[in-house]
């Protein structure tokens, strides 16, 4: 993907560049607000990562101006201010997603890919496959090695999200936000207990554990499960 990063902190920008480049994306970095808006309007980007607080022009203003000009490129806002007001105003101005600093690189990559997929494939493909696991979004039937697996709706949602990122870890915070609509981290094992159920159902009778825990990053479904 061709990604524009508008971020005035050189160190963070370099970190993002390194992380996304590793995933095979092309990155353009701009440090100034006004220039960022100009570049965003002229360049044909697949995605824009926009810092909230920038010199010369605020991230929200860039976004609003961009949306007014009719650009529908997906925008991921980065912010160090985690208030609810901040989040609401960002989404209201037309941001597609919102990531709080500091963030884990895996989380950024996962969000970038989710956003990158959104406009090009507005309707996700019906069938999703990871190794021997097959998930049908229409009939909501999940099979592993041809064997039907009965899932609770919540477990189906989790598996669906994991299978949209086959082979890559999905961060815990993203699970909480997408599946449970929690924008806070509950102390107890809400995610863990759902996952352990899902695992038990998926792995029953198989020697390979389909879902791995990646320490500090999240949960990953194996491509060869």
């Amino acid at each position: 993907m061709y990604v524009l990063v508008v971020e005035d902190d050189a160190e963070i920008a370099a970190h993002i560049r390194a992380g996304l480049k590793n995933e095979g994306h092309d990155i353009v970095i701009v440090a100034d607000g006004c220039e960022g808006l100009k570049t965003a309007k002229t360049g044909n980007f697949d995605l824009i990562i926009l810092d909230r607080m920038l010199p010369s022009l605020d991230g929200i203003d860039i976004l609003a101006s961009l949306r007014r000009s009719g650009a529908d490129v997906p925008v991921l806002m980065l912010t160090a201010r985690g208030t609810i007001e901040d989040r609401v105003s960002g989404l209201h101005a037309g941001a597609d997603d919102y990531l709080l600093k500091p963030f884990a690189m895996m989380e950024l990559i996962a969000r970038v890919e989710a956003l990158g997929r959104r406009p090009r494939q507005p309707e996700q493909s019906r069938i999703c496959v990871a190794g021997s696991i097959r998930l049908d979004r229409m009939t909501r039937i999940v099979t592993r090695g041809g064997r039907d697996i009965l899932l609770h709706p919540r477990e189906f949602q989790i598996l669906d999200l994991l299978m949209s990122h086959v082979g890559r870890p999905v961060p815990r915070a993203m699970l909480l936000k997408t599946i449970w609509r929690f924008d806070f981290d509950p102390g107890t094992k809400v995610v863990e207990s759902h996952l352990s159920r899902l695992r038990a159902k998926l792995d029953a009778g198989f020697s390979v554990n389909a879902i791995e825990t990646v320490r500090g990053e999240g949960y990953r479904i194996r491509g060869d499960a």
Binding site: P102, R181, F182, D183, F184, D185, V190, E192
Partner: protein, 447 residues
């Protein structure tokens, strides 16, 4: 700026006094003028009528009858009122004496029998033979009435000025006094005494209304300042120690020679950092909720489906821990609020039970409308409960019950519940469930 304030009060008083004075002066003058004119007009009419009647006598009954009439009228004691001169100007009848005789109608001076001169009105007519007939009316009585009127007006005018000045000064002074009370309190608050509040009298007037509003504002600012103070203290208190441990961990990893130990230490450090960031986010969120700005996104929410959704989320975790998470009565109720925040409130209450009661405990969540229309969300467990003396403390930040000091948790869960409830105008009550803890969140009823 005390001088300016005094001037304002006096200016208001002065303005009203001047306005009253001008208006009453104008009214007085107009009354005097109109009354004078009316008197003069009436007198003129009367004199003209008499003159016409006399002329009529002359025309019909002849000159002798006219003269007889004048003589008869002049018999009444006084200064005489009639005059008949022939065309040469010699007096034919009448004993009145005037200084001048204007054409038709006009003012003159009458020479009284005692030699005094008195103002008078005269109406005159030339008869057919060229002789002059005139009737004179004294205006002294009329002038006296006019003078009385003038006196009344002057007294009224003076009273208006006096009342205006006195009233103006008094109300200006009272205004000044009330304002300086408010000003003095504000000055004291600026100097740092934030416990001061605007004085409120028994009058329940506009000033008291203003003071009440200002006091509410001060209370709100006080809460915000308090919250801010807490956040800074909390950061120092609860972030410093984990940061110190984190630093020690990284330091020892730096000196370690084994790459395995190093990467293990780094992964551990990341975990700890995420935990700290979570704590940080919670503190900031409590502060934000307490600031009240979240209210702008409030909308009507159906509570029962929200409770069911959250419980559904927690069911696996509860079952894994051997807990019985159950719902009691869930009535269909609507509250105005933020779905996210109330969701977090319910989640925190369940979290609280899961982390502070032994395995196998029963957690019962219910939602009812009370008799007085309020909406009560309650979460009851049958665990060890919290001692009554600790109830207030656990609702504060980092206010953990002594018994739970050794358990994981940072003591912000119930503080978050409290601040979300307050933002929604709801109250949180902790009760003894015999055994266990009963937490009730009571939302005000709609309408």
């Amino acid at each position: 700026m005390p001088e300016r304030r005094t001037r304002t009060a006096l200016r208001i008083a002065g303005f009203y006094v001047a306005s009253f004075a001008v208006v009453s002066l104008l009214v007085g003058m107009a009354t005097w003028q109109l009354t004078g004119n009316a008197f003069r007009h009436t007198l003129d009419e009367r004199l003209r009528d008499e003159l016409v009647a006399l002329k009529h006598a002359d025309d019909i009954e002849g000159r002798d009858a006219l003269i007889a009439d004048i003589v008869a009228f002049d018999a009444i004691p006084g200064n005489g009122r009639y005059l008949l001169n022939d065309s040469q100007g010699s007096r034919l009848a009448g004993r009145v004496s005037v200084t001048r005789l204007p054409e038709e109608i006009g003012d003159t001076m009458l020479r009284a029998v005692d030699g005094h001169m008195e103002p008078a009105r005269v109406v005159r007519m030339t008869l057919q033979d060229g002789s002059t007939l005139a009737v004179v009316g004294e205006t002294a009585a009329m002038d006296r009435t006019e003078r009385t009127l003038l006196l009344i007006a002057a007294v009224g005018f003076g009273s208006v000025i006096v009342i205006g000045v006195v009233g103006g000064v008094l109300s200006g002074r009272s205004l000044h006094r009330r304002l300086s009370l408010v000003d003095g309190t504000a000055q004291a608050i600026i100097k740092g005494d934030f416990t001061r509040r605007m004085p409120i009298s028994n009058a329940n007037d506009e000033f008291d209304q203003l003071s009440t509003t200002l006091n509410q504002m001060l209370d709100h600012i006080g809460r915000l300042m308090n919250s801010l103070r807490h956040v800074s203290a909390d950061i120092a208190h609860d972030l410093r120690s984990p940061l110190t441990r984190l630093r020690a961990k990284l330091e020892s990893a730096l000196h370690s020679q084994e790459p395995e130990t190093q990467s293990e230490a780094i992964a551990d450090a990341l975990d700890r950092m995420d935990e700290m960031l979570g704590l940080f986010a919670t503190m900031l969120r409590i502060a934000e909720v307490e600031a009240g700005g979240v209210k702008q996104w409030f909308k009507p929410i159906a509570l029962a489906p929200l409770v069911e959704e959250i419980l559904d989320n927690y069911l696996p975790a509860a079952q894994d821990g051997g807990y019985r998470l159950e719902t009691g009565l869930l009535e269909d109720v609507i509250v105005i609020g933020s779905e996210d925040l109330i969701g977090q409130l319910i989640a925190n209450l369940i979290e609280n039970c899961l982390s502070h009661t032994p395995q196998g405990s029963r957690i019962l969540v219910s939602l009812v409308r009370t008799l007085d229309g309020a909406i009560e969300l309650s979460v009851k467990d049958n665990g060890p409960g919290i001692e009554k003396s600790q109830h207030a403390k656990v609702l504060q930040r980092f206010g953990r019950g002594e018994a739970s000091r050794s358990r994981p948790g940072h003591g912000l869960g119930l503080a978050m519940v409290q601040s979300i409830a307050t933002a929604h105008g709801a109250d949180v009550f902790l009760d003894d469930a015999r055994p266990g803890l009963l937490v009730r969140v009571v939302f005000p009823g709609q309408g």
